[in-house]
């Protein structure tokens, strides 16, 4: 019992640094009082009460809650991605991945703060930052699960050099996503809050649609005539939606800009909305699909479903290779070029396509006189409401 009390006392002393300066004396007082408490359960209970107080006082300061949640999420991700036999290149890639991502996600806020200021007040900015970080961490987690099987012998037929190259590209792309999330949730955001909301919501919906239409990144196969026709129609509609969504989001964002602002400002909001549409869609579909791929070796039902629904894609089938999971699972998963790299391309090109379409729609709307809140119309509307 005494050793446990000693551990808790040490933890209490270390954690007091999390508290504001005016609270540390109180924690020191509680810690010194522990010497008066009879050893055993009572002393342990006294010290545990101090730990509870530390957490309560630390979280009372709003600024500490998010770093604590991020630390817990990053540690959980690292803990999940870490295991694997030594010498396996996939394990090395995973470990490098989680460490670099944790450092990037922890360090980028400091860098962005210097340029764009601290996080904006209000719930939407916090939601954007928390949701964006959660999505990035989730992607790292599910990607590690895929790599653990697909990148391990004998499935790493592409060799470790290609895996490391892909890893560097992945980290670069993810750094870009994190920077975008942080910049657009900062006080001096390059995009208006409404623009970000329109783009992110449109993109998230588009990502879900893309996932439903092709959960593993490939069109599905249906045997019946009507199901096949319906699916083909849905696929065509989805493709049209994917092409038009960034432009529509850009148009909607442009219409919110004051008419007196120059056309460049309207075009910039359109581009930002398109950028967010592409980025959110790519991130959502990558997380969902990679999570499904990660489940393939462990879920026979999903594997059977995948075999029967994407089996006609001959080039893909030829890339399928037997996998031997870390715990003796036997299944099938596609090669890196078909899956991981495929989503990396989506992650890299989605925002670029979105920004181009959004800027184009903003430019067209601006020059066609479709955009902008007209002050006179606004006054008339206010008059009607009044």
């Amino acid at each position: 019992m005494n050793w446990l009390s000693g551990v808790v006392a040490a933890l209490l002393r270390c954690s007091s640094g999390m508290l504001p300066a005016d609270r540390r004396g109180w924690m020191r007082a509680l810690w010194t009082e522990a010497h008066e408490v009879p050893a055993g359960w009572r002393r342990l209970a006294w010290l545990l009460g101090g730990l509870r107080l530390t957490v309560r006082e630390a979280t009372r300061r709003r600024g500490l809650v998010y770093p604590l949640v991020f630390t817990a999420a990053a540690v959980t991700t690292a803990w999940s991605a870490w295991p694997g036999p030594p010498g396996d290149s996939a394990v090395a890639v995973n470990r490098a991945d989680v460490i670099t991502m944790a450092v990037l996600l922890a360090g980028l806020p400091w860098a962005i703060r210097r340029v764009r200021g601290p996080v904006a007040g209000g719930r939407p900015a916090r939601l954007l930052r928390t949701g964006g970080y959660a999505a990035v961490l989730a992607l790292v987690l599910v990607k590690a699960a895929v790599e653990r099987v697909a990148g391990a012998p004998p499935n790493n037929f592409e060799g470790p050099a290609r895996a490391w190259t892909g890893e560097v590209v992945f980290l670069g792309v993810m750094a870009g996503y994190a920077a975008l999330i942080l910049a657009c949730s900062a006080r001096r955001s390059p995009a208006a809050p409404g623009t970000v909301a329109i783009g992110a919501a449109t993109g998230a919906a588009l990502g879900v649609v893309a996932y439903v239409l092709g959960p593993l990144g490939f069109p599905l196969r249906f045997t019946g005539r009507w199901p096949a026709c319906l699916y083909d129609a849905a696929l065509a509609l989805g493709a049209l939606l994917a092409l038009c969504a960034p432009a529509l989001a850009g148009l909607a964002a442009t219409r919110r800009v004051d008419h007196s602002r120059p056309p460049v400002a309207r075009m910039r909001q359109g581009a930002m909305a398109g950028l967010w549409t592409g980025a959110a869609a790519a991130l959502v579909v990558a997380v969902l699909s990679t999570a499904s791929i990660a489940l393939l070796p462990y879920d026979p039902g999903l594997r059977d479903w995948a075999s029967s629904h994407i089996g006609q894609w001959t080039p893909v089938v030829s890339q399928w290779t037997p996998i031997y999971g870390p715990r003796g699972y036997l299944g099938y998963v596609a090669g890196n070029s078909a899956f991981a790299a495929g989503y990396l391309v989506v992650l890299a090109l989605g925002p670029l396509f979105g920004v181009a379409m959004g800027a184009w729609s903003g430019w067209v709307a601006g020059h066609a006189g479709l955009s902008g809140i007209r002050p006179r119309a606004l006054k008339q509307a206010q008059g009607r409401l009044g």
């Binding site: 109180w26 509680l30 010194t32 009082e33 006294w46 009460g49 101090g50 509870r52 107080l53």
Partner: protein, 114 residues
């Protein structure tokens, strides 16, 4: 219906304990022992009371042999006045620790009883 105090039952217990010997400096474990409050409850109460200027705190001047210096507490003049008023308005004499638990139960029962 009795007047609802601005202090919680736990805070009233601490105030009652400090009020018993207002000029005397008390240490945290002594108050916890006499009120039956746990450290995780007592210290937030002391912190809030000190923030409001009702309790003053200081460290022992001399380094005693065999134990670390204690952090000591007592009511300020304002704290003594506030405690006297609050304890007089309290529905029943605040006795700790059983009184604290009993009072909490009574308050909960009063809320649910029509």
């Amino acid at each position: 219906m009795g007047h609802r105090s601005e202090f919680s039952v736990q805070t009233l217990a601490v105030l009652a304990e400090l009020c018993a010997t207002p000029s005397q400096w008390r240490h945290g474990y002594g108050i916890a022992r006499d009120t039956g409050l746990k450290s995780g409850t007592l210290y937030p109460v002391l912190i809030r009371l000190a923030d409001r200027g009702l309790v003053e705190a200081r460290w022992e001047d001399e380094q005693p042999a065999g134990r670390p210096r204690r952090h000591l507490y007592r009511l300020t003049a304002e704290g003594l006045a506030a405690a006297t008023v609050a304890l007089a308005r309290a529905p029943s004499p605040v006795r700790a620790p059983a009184a604290v638990r009993g009072e909490r139960r009574r308050r909960v029962a009063a809320r649910v009883t029509p």
